[in-house]
Symmetry: D2
Amino acid sequence: MSSAFGRLFTVTTFGESHGPAVGVVIDGAPPGYAISLEAAQRELDRRRPAQSAVTSPRREADTVHALSGLFEGRTTGAPICLVAYNEDARPADYEKLKDVFRPGHADFTYQAKYGLRDWRGSGRASGRETLGRVAAGAVARQLLATVGVRVIGGTVAVGEVLAERRDWDEVERNAVRCPDAAAAAAMERGILAASEARDSVGGVVEVVAAGVPAGWGDPTMDKLDAKLAHALMSIPAVKGVEIGDGFALARARGSQANDALGPGGFATNRQGGILGGISTGQDVVARVAVKPASSIGRPQSTVDTSGHPVTVEIEGRHDPCICPRVVSVAEAMVCLVLADAWLRQRALRGD
Amino acid sequence: MSSAFGRLFTVTTFGESHGPAVGVVIDGAPPGYAISLEAAQRELDRRRPAQSAVTSPRREADTVHALSGLFEGRTTGAPICLVAYNEDARPADYEKLKDVFRPGHADFTYQAKYGLRDWRGSGRASGRETLGRVAAGAVARQLLATVGVRVIGGTVAVGEVLAERRDWDEVERNAVRCPDAAAAAAMERGILAASEARDSVGGVVEVVAAGVPAGWGDPTMDKLDAKLAHALMSIPAVKGVEIGDGFALARARGSQANDALGPGGFATNRQGGILGGISTGQDVVARVAVKPASSIGRPQSTVDTSGHPVTVEIEGRHDPCICPRVVSVAEAMVCLVLADAWLRQRALRGD
Amino acid sequence: MSSAFGRLFTVTTFGESHGPAVGVVIDGAPPGYAISLEAAQRELDRRRPAQSAVTSPRREADTVHALSGLFEGRTTGAPICLVAYNEDARPADYEKLKDVFRPGHADFTYQAKYGLRDWRGSGRASGRETLGRVAAGAVARQLLATVGVRVIGGTVAVGEVLAERRDWDEVERNAVRCPDAAAAAAMERGILAASEARDSVGGVVEVVAAGVPAGWGDPTMDKLDAKLAHALMSIPAVKGVEIGDGFALARARGSQANDALGPGGFATNRQGGILGGISTGQDVVARVAVKPASSIGRPQSTVDTSGHPVTVEIEGRHDPCICPRVVSVAEAMVCLVLADAWLRQRALRGD
Amino acid sequence: MSSAFGRLFTVTTFGESHGPAVGVVIDGAPPGYAISLEAAQRELDRRRPAQSAVTSPRREADTVHALSGLFEGRTTGAPICLVAYNEDARPADYEKLKDVFRPGHADFTYQAKYGLRDWRGSGRASGRETLGRVAAGAVARQLLATVGVRVIGGTVAVGEVLAERRDWDEVERNAVRCPDAAAAAAMERGILAASEARDSVGGVVEVVAAGVPAGWGDPTMDKLDAKLAHALMSIPAVKGVEIGDGFALARARGSQANDALGPGGFATNRQGGILGGISTGQDVVARVAVKPASSIGRPQSTVDTSGHPVTVEIEGRHDPCICPRVVSVAEAMVCLVLADAWLRQRALRGD
């Protein structure tokens, strides 16, 4: 089940970048919950490229259709299939790249794994696969809202520029989706500079889940942070995940790292709302390292499928920094993990 | 299956710190492979505390017994149950902590999740649970060796001290299991300083898998790096995971981050041997952030199970830095992920 | 994952009888295999009603569309989504039944389970859900053909009429899909008699898989026969499953039931090609008991959703005997089980 | 996970007939439930041979030990490992059979599947593997009792002798565990006659679950009856499963088969308490066909592992009819299915 995620709230994405459609099947949504497809559409619109100068100009309508599982606007307990038909597919754009292994892309590894690959627009490895994740995440988000869980994210670093503040209302007001307006401006400049240099730039995305009650998640193998790490590291371009203070805790002492507990609750949240793999009731905080987009206009050395050296310059519709788009995918993956943990805890405790 | 990991090579650990035994069941080991329990025992001995001044003086014999699944020294395809009986259990040591939520520990979250908890030596949340992981990892390691895969790890940072070299032969020659002898000495000093301050210190552990052929792992949800992240983040005290250059890639440009490809293979390995979730044939490189051990002698503010504030000073047998012990657990988890990926690729391609 | 089946070759069906579409996602098909959608369409056409006087006159075009996973006519290793849009949906036909629990149907139990239900044409409980199974089975069948496995089935009993012969070439020549031409005629008469009495009649469907090599299947929990039982009992209207001589073995002695083994192989096949849950290399033989279709024209006593007694006469387009249609579904489910067992054995043995 | 069963209440058995131990790990038991090991021991004692003239005289103490997961007599949410050490192992008894494929046994198929096998007492294929199932079933039974579910079973046919009554209080009063005292006497005579003829005889075992509320189970693939079929067909020697009237429904008309519904509930229970894969609130009724024990004293034709013809007469400690022992295993498997369905429904509906 390489394309499935979740044990009780199970999602399976399908579809290639330039095939007929991309989509997702959600198996395990509990019955009787109102689901707004309009709200899901808004999530997809956030993921969509062509939103600003700092993202790809490819136009994707990305209209979501529900093929199953909803009746009179509510979940029925049946699998929910959500699909978006590919409208702006231009496989010919990729014809000349079909025999080339683009650096940083999965061309070489798909060929090694499968012995063949759908080379049209990266096929299954395209960021377009994440549309199904975001659609499923939008359903999960609506379910979670009924129990008071809210998930929000933003770009907190681009290159060397760091966000100093976490003003989540700011996120949708700037093109990089940064919760710090001042940093956002500097980030935009950094992205445009990279773009002008026919290059790309990486960054860090942070996701916060508020309202998660204490007790979600499992100990040992299926720790809440382990599942978050799985979910977030499965996003294209993500190369690192940390929870709470993360790698900074590796440089700390125990007396600094332990969050003291008092009658009013925890005094600090260095652990990111998770202890022993189980939520503490505080905000759950995760961050992911996003590598710079692999598609760049600069000439790069690589080989073709016969092993001969070639130089490739990737043209076309690409993002100089994908952090703004990763935000919605990362939020979606956190929603998927939490929906699963919610149902799991209901199974264990019956409430 | 909160205590299970792996789809084809499935391991389920069981056991509490101060119960009768800890162990693991491995379901899915392919038949006909020679397994040395002596080699497995050596892995357990590496995980064992009381090995040096920098780790806990608790004595654990940790003798591994095979209850099933091996016949005449070989796997039969049947589940392999490996168990170690608890010999040095002293639950009375923990009696006075049974009503206290120790900071940094999972006491509070277990209580919130389950409504009760086995308070004897952290019960299931004890690092002792990892014995089953290491035993299973030792089996996986022996299987992987038959196809040329070798997994090695070491402590590459303690507090602010970083290893500059990766001399893997050095690892078993120093108490912190550092692949850099000079850094190891500084790390030891740091650990002892923390210990004298009745405190603890964090660090970073790196694991490298050599010999992994190109094509292992799955795209989308079950990416090889996603499963590594899941596996590694499920280790107690781990708060971050990165692959290849990880978080450093967030500060890089695409022209730096993309590993160029030539007729002789990849020129660099910034991506850590994984592209699009699939192995490239290079070394697979992962690093984890290990938080400072939660058990410290210093007085800490917390509450008891009735919510009243108390001050706790944790006495007893504890590690000032758990990185040297995390090394063997992290190696084991990487072996579990790779064994699963190996079988999965055999299923897909029939070789 | 209530709508998913299979561990390595995982299929998830979706869709309601009178919603926009029904379909299936296949996750785990190995790469590089040619798949003919025309062949899949022929399987769907066999499942389709309106084929003869003995089945429902409802017209369903059931044209299968591949939304993903195939490239240049071959599997790529990516999820394959197959879908058929509902064209002849007439939800109004069911409006008057929306508050009635039809006897023999799942109306009452869906309401009890979910608290609400999609009452249009039985919604998810409709036989139409099996379209996705047959589509996925058609893919599995084509994969299995490459390793020499052939799956065929037929109706071997209708009411009290039993097929005496197994002439599989005969199956597609008669309306009941019976491998015995003489019995087929008697079966047809029985079905029409039931139909004229505004009643329905049950029967038995047999499926045979030839060419399955010795060694497929697993012992203990995932026995090949256990998975076949799971798969076949999950077909709507199936109330019993037997392997080989099945219930007749309960009346036999060991000296009769044991298949003797000689240098040329097994002398008989009373065990149905499976011993200890693992295939013997003989034909795998399974039979299912199909209950009479629940929808009958006769007046029946039941209650409405408020618990008040009502009499219901079910009109509309229904099958007096569903065995001929169950044949293709049962074959499909056997193909799904065998595809999974094939991949599992490749994982175990590497060939 | 060939030795695992269940999605939320997951059990994995381990152990060979003549290895050090047999046992089970239960992962997913909800926390806070009192578990009596004495009650579990009583279940194991029912499964144990050497109980009467009609079962094998092999002495097995089968004392169950809990290695983990219980604290102060209650479940903690952690995996429960239950184990019984093998005390009466006599591998030498089997030495002469190690190169012979016994008819009706899994010797040939294990060899074909794995390329090697643990030939000591059938190894993993021994009925002794079911000890772990019964131990886990005993835990499930105790959990189910807290929500009012009771599971009882008995032998309802031996050879041609059928039980006419279902007096469940009678079951433990006769050696064949038959709920009809008169039939029991005839069954015993039949078994002894077969035994004297150095032969064995088959039968039918029925299991009834009372108190299952309406709404348990899942539609489509994971139907409650499909999971029961999976669970029951995985019991050694079982070759058929039917629900409610089962194969008799194949000979019925719809007007007979449909259970009418009135204000007081269902008028009859021909469907065995399941409609559309979901429980109706009536008794859940399942029956299994048990083949005659494969081990018989009569000379049988077979081949050795080199393919040469040999005649084998199986001596030693064997059951002429295993139905009395299958009763406890079948009950256990039904308990496992229902415990899983219970938790699943809690996850879906939150109560």
